[in-house]
């Protein structure tokens, strides 16, 4: 049984503010969903995990654009900015 406290903690981890009625309803809903999806516990078979043929690949962590190439495009959507910087509140 998931508790309201656990839901509040999860919401805090996910950086989502919930009001009391949301916490109430989510507690019920998430609890029943977890009970439902928990049926996979009854699967006892194991499987030899193989790397699938199509797998995620990473590229080298290098800069691939010219300086400032995308800055103005990106900043059109930025809610709070200072010049060419994205502004955020102080993190202390």
């Amino acid at each position: 049984m998931i508790t309201k406290e656990e839901i509040k903690n999860l919401a805090s981890l996910a950086r989502i503010e919930l009001d009391n009625s949301e916490v109430e309803s989510l507690t019920k809903e998430v609890d029943s969903i977890l009970a439902y999806v928990g049926q996979i516990q009854e699967v006892s078979a194991g499987v030899d995990r193989e790397i699938p043929k199509n797998r995620n690949i990473m590229r080298d962590d290098v800069v691939t654009n010219e300086p400032g190439q995308y800055t103005s495009d990106i900043l059109t959507n930025t809610p709070v900015k200072t010049g060419e910087y994205v502004s955020v509140k102080k993190i202390l």
Partner: protein, 474 residues
Amino acid sequence: MIDLKNLTIKKAHEAMKNGDFTAVDLTKSYLDIIKQKNSELNVYLEVFEKDALKQAEDADKRFKDGSAVEMTGIPIALKDNILYQGHISSSASRILENHVAPYDSTVVKKLKEAGAVILGRVNMDEFAMGVSTENSAFGVTKNPYDTSRVPGGSSGGSTTAVAMDGTLVALGSDTGGSCRQPAAFCGVVGFKPTYGSVSRHGLMAMGSSLDIIGPIAKTVSDAEVVFNTIKGKDDMDSTSISSDFYPKKSVSKMVIGIPREFLNIGVDERILTNFNDSVEKLKSLGYEIIDIDLPYVKYTVPVYYIISPAEVSSNLARFDGVKYGLHIDGGSNLLSDYLKTRGVGLGREVKRRIILGTYVLSSGYHDAYYNKATVVRDLITKDYTKAFEKVDVILTPTTTGPAFKIGEKVSDPIKMYLEDIFTGPANIVGLPAISVPSGFVKEDGVDLPVGIQFMAPHGREDLLFEVGKKFKGE
């Protein structure tokens, strides 16, 4: 008057080539229908009239100079989670309500190169989470066959746009069935390509190991043309593949497999009757039909609703009100900005799945839920690999029932999640699948469309197009 009802890409292309009508004529015809029907059905969130007419003019030039290709001048609608540079893409969410795409998705790039006409962005469940389009922050889209019913989801806008003749073809996205289920509810073709065969670059991510963009059309042939235009390996998508990535075994006489036991999970009688009629039709077309067994496929929905919320909780962390989108000032500190912005900007179902995903990935629980789900995912995959040794395609109904009433399932998340039972495996395993209209069932005196779904091995879209066209007599 252009006969939009019976139009196909091929007919439109021939007509424009012969000068029967121009691309501008064709685009204007669809724009007129949209003006007539959109306020009732709530399909297009935004129509790009000016840009579309300009694209149509350019298409007419290409017909004149002989450089027109199949998709030139063909009107297409985009699901609202597909980026189109300079235009709003909001994933039907308040948190991105005014977000302007800074770049083109790869599929839009390819459509532009082909000279297609992008009519507008269409409604969807918020961030592609849903089976009814009821989770849109901008109102539900209504089923064109019965406006008291849902069109399905999450690509409900895409399928309704095609069904109402508000576009010739559309793009949807499919993570658990979101192209196929609404296609069945709206009586159109919904195609899910092999995972990786269409680039996800510029598709707002929901479940990165599950997502794919897919075409919605009236005919299988049209879905094939759109697929051929948008497919291809893309450097910008690290899991994208070329058409020859998977080996293709030769198929002389196609054998169709039906997982009979899987159909006993509570499918509406009328759907079963329609399904069995479809099976008889396929037999009369010369296909061999055999029974197959998929022992672990009954865990599809639990597996999907562990893995996809987990991936969702990670993918939607980017919506923090800092770089783009809605920003709500929460007070004194940055944390309160995050909490308020996401609390207000994200819808109910989205929050539910993020919470669920956070839980199944959290320390103490990820072994029992997420890790276990990935093991069962592999077991389901092995079921299909084994089945495809005996058969070439697998057939099921697309859905367990026809379109349900608006509001009918909203208060019961698990009822909603069970909508994905037949469509989910294709995403879990990465297989291509197509929903093809198979007739109608009667409900409250109204004929509601239903569909059947073919699935094929990785990379075998060709088998799906072949059997789909044969079934539809194309």
